[in-house]
């Protein structure tokens, strides 16, 4: 990166980093409703607005359902919008998530990943966002505060691309990222403006070009609407990668788009991880590599759209794949695991797989746990019988 492009470094929490990203993206409308561990995002934005550092409509809505409804109303008028939520709040806006994606409004929302009740708990896992898998939202997961900032800026670029025109949910782990302070580069405004021009759309109410939006569709047409959503999600795969490349060219930071591989080129055993645990896994990979183990990490950034094509190829390259799920789909297995497995077992693949359920409701995923996961992958490859779904660190077995 050239001297000219050096950005000022700040010591920010993940929530604060998101707030700075939002400020740089210059949304017209923000709908704010607080919920732990997201609250700092909308608080910090309200400070920016109060200090006139942001020029936007800041709406204090009465619920998350209203937050998403208000965002949709604003987007319907052609406004760039932002909102943030978490856990029960995300569930409460569930109905509106479908309205927004089906109406193709490119709203960006940050979800601070937190488990869902009961048992009630404010700590992090992915059960909130993964439960909204089929809401038609693009879902991106980030590893640290810097990526939270950068992915939020990228999210607008992806959402507002005319081939996509879908809402994007950026997910950052509750507390582990939202409340941890790290060194973060805040890009300068001119560079963000270069990357992200102001929002223009034809998908809005316009006196000069009257049309209906958010209407009902009869059985004769509903399938075609769904097909277009499907196509838009498929198109988003390329756009997510392209947005990351363009971002990297301007800001010097690349994240790999849909996925990032870490030391996978010659790996026998790969762990698939989403969110902050990807960082900790890097350390474990480095340590095991020093011991001669051929291990690697696949950091899954985009859960929807899902990089099926990547995993189809991975299944032919490695001997065993473990998937860390910070969730569980009761009656089956971890949700991410199902998707990865479905793609891995493309014809020709001989790969073995294990699902590691870990980090539920804020339970720490330690380096020791991650080391054990790699050991289990090696063991299953060597013929040991290991139950497919493993609850990591369970108090009893």
């Amino acid at each position: 990166m050239s001297e000219l492009k050096m950005e000022k470094k700040h010591f920010l929490s993940g929530d604060e980093a998101v707030a700075y990203a939002v400020k740089l993206c210059k949304p017209d409308v923000i709908a704010a409703y607080p919920i732990t561990p997201q609250t700092v995002i909308v608080e910090k934005i309200s400070e920016f607005v109060a200090a006139k550092e942001m020029d936007c409509q800041y709406l204090h809505v009465e619920s998350e359902h209203s937050a998403m409804a208000a965002s949709m109303g604003a987007s319907l008028m052609g406004s760039r919008t932002f909102t943030a939520t978490s856990s029960q709040g995300l569930l409460y806006m569930c109905e509106m998530l479908h309205y927004v994606s089906g109406s193709r409004f490119p709203i960006v929302m940050v979800n601070a990943n937190r488990t869902v009740a009961a048992p009630w708990n404010i700590y992090g896992d992915h059960r909130d966002s993964l439960s909204q898998r089929d809401s038609g939202w693009i879902q991106i997961y980030v590893e640290n505060a810097q990526e939270a900032l950068d992915a939020t800026i990228q999210a607008y670029k992806i959402a507002e691309n005319s081939c996509v025109s879908l809402p994007v949910m950026v997910n950052l782990d509750g507390f582990v990222l939202t409340h941890t302070y790290e060194l973060v580069d805040i890009p300068n405004q001119e560079m963000v403006d270069e990357f992200l021009p102001s929002f223009t759309t034809t998908n809005k109410l316009d006196f000069n070009n009257p049309k209906s939006l958010c209407f009902s569709a009869s059985p004769e047409w509903q399938t075609e609407f769904r097909y277009q959503q499907y196509e838009a999600m498929e198109a988003a795969k390329k756009i997510i990668n392209k947005a990351d490349e363009e971002f990297g060219k301007i800001f010097g930071r690349y994240y790999g788009g849909m996925i990032e591989e870490y030391r996978c080129a010659d790996a026998d055993y790969a762990l698939v991880a989403m969110g902050s645990v990807a960082g900790t896994t890097r350390l474990v990979v480095d340590k095991l590599r020093e011991e001669g183990k051929k291990v690697g990490l696949v950091k899954l950034r985009s859960y929807r759209p899902f990089p099926k094509e990547y995993f189809q190829k991975l299944g032919r390259r490695v001997k065993a794949v473990g998937v860390i799920d910070r969730d569980i789909s009761f009656g089956y297995e971890g949700a991410v695991y199902s998707d990865v497995k479905g793609a891995l077992f493309h014809p020709g693949a001989q790969v073995k797989t294990i699902n590691f359920i870990a980090g539920l409701s804020g339970r720490d995923i330690t380096k020791e746990y991650l080391t054990e996961m790699y050991q289990k992958l090696e063991a299953i490859d060597k013929g040991q019988n290991i139950a497919e779904v493993q609850f990591t660190g369970l108090r009893w077995t």
Binding site: K9, F11, Y123, V176, Y181, T280, K367
Partner: protein, 182 residues
């Protein structure tokens, strides 16, 4: 990587100290750092934790801190209920805010202990028994993980204007006091 755990009670500013140290070490010290509180609801007076990680390389570890190079105790009464020695590394140091000398404490495993009467210094300099920045000064003097000037810059960036001068003084008094006896 250096890992530091701060023990305080809700309202003592233990996490503020953890964060000031992280800010000083990174933005003003040229290192990478992380600072985080014990996650969850905060209650005034309840035992709480703060953590600071400092490294010359980017810190990718997002698991919790289990082994500490330094443990800082802002309130001596915590020793009755909390095992502050947990996870201290062999060469680690336990720094306690206390009027007692380190010899008057008796912990197993020959843990290296330092004490500093931060409450006395806080009352003299700040006029209130808030010991977080005083203890921060002591940490800087004992550990050398950051320069005193970096901590002062962090206070200038982080604290409200009316608090800056007296807290910088608090840090400096503690620092000089410890450096003087070394």
């Amino acid at each position: 990587m250096i890992e530091i755990r701060w023990h305080g009670r809700g309202g003592h500013g233990g996490f503020t100290a953890a964060r000031l140290l992280g800010l000083a070490a990174s933005v003003y010290g040229g290192n990478y750092s992380q600072a985080f509180p014990s996650f969850g609801p905060e209650r005034r007076g309840a035992p709480v934790l703060g953590f600071t990680r400092i490294d010359i390389e980017q810190i990718n570890d997002h698991s919790q801190v289990y082994n500490c190079d330094y443990v800082i105790v802002l309130d001596e009464t915590l020793l009755d209920t909390v095992d502050v020695t947990k996870g201290i590394k062999e060469e680690g140091i336990l720094l306690i805010n206390s009027a007692k000398s380190s010899e008057q404490f008796n912990f197993p495993n020959n843990i290296k202990i330092r004490t500093f009467n931060a409450t006395k210094t806080a009352l003299e300099v700040l006029g209130v028994p808030i010991t977080n920045t005083v203890m921060l000064g002591a940490v800087v003097a004992i550990t050398g993980v950051v320069k005193l000037e970096a901590v002062k810059s962090a206070i200038d960036e982080f604290m409200a204007p009316e608090l800056r001068d007296k807290n910088k003084k608090a840090v400096e008094v503690a620092y000089n006091s410890i450096k003087g006896v070394n």
